[in-house]
């Protein structure tokens, strides 16, 4: 199976459930292992919770969760349109785990095969991408 699922949600904690369920649907349909599913659910939880906590300090915002399935591999992008991060300043704090976001994202990094954090389109917001094989 190959295809992309896009889920656009309010960036609030109660909608995390929907993101996790979307990941569940894709993994099961693809015949992925329960272990891969558990890892990816946890990873998407951290990434989306991050957005809910930090991306929109002053107003309500939205988050886009993009699931790209390529047979036995699932890549997830969590994209927000809010307060971005400065790679120079926050980047270091992020990878060292000091920054609260960094904690969440270091969890993602341990669950996924790949992880990248970039500014969103037009330099606004943030795009966190991670992926994992669905077998084993």
């Amino acid at each position: 199976m190959i295809g992309t699922v896009r889920l656009d949600l309010p960036a609030r904690p109660e909608y995390l459930l929907l993101a996790r369920l979307a990941v569940t649907g894709v993994c099961r349909a693809a015949g992925g292992s329960e272990e891969a599913l558990a890892d990816l659910k946890l990873a998407v939880t951290e990434a989306v919770a991050n957005v809910a906590r930090h991306a929109y300090p002053d107003q309500a915002g939205r988050v886009m969760v993009e699931l790209t399935l390529a047979e036995t591999r699932l890549d997830i992008a969590v994209i927000d349109d809010g307060k971005g991060f400065d790679p120079a300043l926050d980047g270091q704090a992020m990878s060292s785990g000091e920054h609260e976001s960094g904690m969440g994202l270091s969890i993602v990094s341990s669950l996924a095969d790949t992880l990248s954090i970039e500014p969103g389109a037009d330099g606004r917001g943030t795009c966190v991408r991670f992926g994992r094989s669905l077998s084993g």
Partner: protein, 117 residues
């Protein structure tokens, strides 16, 4: 509408469970009674059955305290749904209508919420 979610995915049957699960999550957040949620899922599933495979389908769900409006499409116009599906959708949803957008159609299903509490 106070809030909304948008889901888009391939139109093939293999992806149906993604729609069911996301609607399940939404129904949970909206405190829908089980039977209402089941029929919401059945209505959307019935609507999706009218799609041809190979394309993409989008589902927009807008909601507030009083109602949930689900928009599904695009379908190739005219009348996306058969006579039978029309009967079924009108029985399952509080209202069901098709709106045209160019040569495509979108199906709009409305579910009242307040009374179900």
């Amino acid at each position: 509408m106070k809030d909304h979610i948008v889901l888009s995915l391939p139109s093939a049957r293999a992806w149906d469970s993604v729609v069911g699960l996301v609607l399940g999550g939404l129904g949970t957040r909206l405190d829908l009674p089980f039977e209402r949620l089941d029929e919401l899922q059945l209505a959307v599933s019935t609507a999706l059955d009218a799609l041809q495979p190979g394309g993409e389908v989008t589902l927009e769900a807008g909601f507030d305290a009083d109602e949930l409006v689900v928009r599904v499409g695009p379908f190739a116009a005219p009348a996306a749904t058969s006579v039978v599906s029309g009967h079924v959708l009108r029985a399952l949803a509080d209202s069901s209508r098709a709106t045209a957008e160019g040569d495509r159609e979108w199906l709009e299903l409305t579910f009242a919420l307040a009374e179900s509490r």
